[in-house]
Symmetry: C2
Subunit: 253 residues, 2 copies
């Protein structure tokens, strides 16, 4: 290695269809997004490096704008990095953009916020073309009730009741900037924007809001669940396939 | 068979993801949408009948609203038909609705019009989640030019230049009621509404409009191609995966 080619810190925005992956993180015996990306980097640059993400996604969860970083000693230009990695990646993982950043940039620790979107098909039959990217809810959802409950959940709270491993987080307090629920025909989208999230928190919020929308839980339960700080079976984790990591924000908090 | 259970003519609206099928029509050695539907009908009703569609779709083409008919001697109610067929169908084929019609109803011959939609991703990288349902066009498309060419193609014309088997159609004249081209960011949609279509006509129109949008052909070529009534390599057939049979119209012409 010469001074001219010291490793540079690369940032890349990556989309993936989580259907065929055992989540983000490399694990023995599993095909993972991280593994596929590290393989592609090795094929392109002949170097095996670790690819770090803004936050792991679980099995079956999708990403429109996952952000990753990695250190690479290469003369490849950003355009060549995008084209090159996509040549070696399967078409359900795509590098959307890539650039060199200051070495202090960290996909996870530099992030100041994230937006997730949860997609629901609210109708009797889940159409063929929507099957991979929507949770299916047959019973008509009461959007107004979902919005009311969402507004109670917005803000800085202890989200232990909406976390899949309560008690295992050192600090279960998180700030949710905004939750919106929108409908276009049978297509319902829950947008959740926050500074950070607990384990399976977005799917728990979605699962909870679906129950409220179905009339299984009253809007008043939102406050009660926040207070209880205890996960119960009344807050289900909504299916992975409805969830997209939509974008990661960097910059001023 | 008793008089009470004479076969009834059923109409069903079906969606499918064409990715994993060799098109609509039953063919030896191929997995087809028609074959899967006839299998499901047989599993549900213990009867093997022919399922007729409004118009065959090619390998890889999708449908949001294909319409089919079939004759069935069964006591099953519409709701049970939908639920029952979907139980036996793979999840990339869905029966969206089903009802009993007068015996004169024919999915193909009663149709008075059809709408197809052709979806294009116009950007440098085709996102992972769009890969199955969009054609990918890297070069920025000139939507205004595409619209101008589309307006020339609208109306009643001899579409031999936009047909994959010119000379094999008894009557190559068709009426296209409307072609619209819309853009939302990198997502471009071509909607084609007509009374009927020649073989691969919509994909040929889409392929042609893409070439116009890329600046490879001038808008004036639209009139020239209609006049020539001859298919040339300058009119490509756009990829199957971008095409959806969107809806079939019945009723007054």
């Amino acid at each position: 290695m010469t001074a001219e080619h010291a490793p540079a810190r690369w940032k890349a925005v990556v989309s993936y269809d989580g259907t065929n992956y055992g989540g983000w993180q490399v694990q023995p015996g599993r095909i993972t997004v991280q593994g596929k990306l590290e393989d592609a980097v090795e094929q392109l640059t002949r170097k095996r490096v670790r690819v770090h993400c803004s936050g792991r996604t679980d099995t079956g969860v999708h990403a429109r704008g996952q952000v990753v970083h990695m250190d690479l000693d290469t003369r490849i230009k950003p355009h060549g990095m995008i084209e090159g990695l996509n040549r070696y990646l399967p078409d359900d993982i795509r590098v959307e953009s890539a650039r060199i950043m200051p070495s202090t940039f960290d996909a996870r620790f530099s992030a100041t916020g994230k937006e997730y979107r949860y997609f629901i098909w609210n109708g009797p039959v889940l159409p063929a073309w929507a099957r991979l990217y929507r949770a299916h809810v047959r019973k008509p959802l009461d959007i107004a009730a979902m919005r009311d409950a969402a507004s109670v959940l917005t803000g800085r709270h202890d989200f232990s009741s909406f976390c899949a491993n309560p008690g295992h987080e050192r600090d279960p307090v998180r700030t949710v900037n905004r939750i919106t629920v929108s409908r276009r025909g049978p297509d319902i989208t829950i947008r959740v924007d926050g500074e950070g999230f607990l384990y399976k928190m977005v799917r728990s919020l979605a699962g909870y809001l679906i129950r409220v929308g179905q009339g299984d839980l009253p809007v008043s339960s939102a406050h009660a669940f926040l207070q209880s700080r205890e996960r119960t079976a009344r807050v289900p984790t909504a299916p992975a396939k409805g969830l997209f990591l939509w974008r990661v924000r960097y910059g001023r908090r």
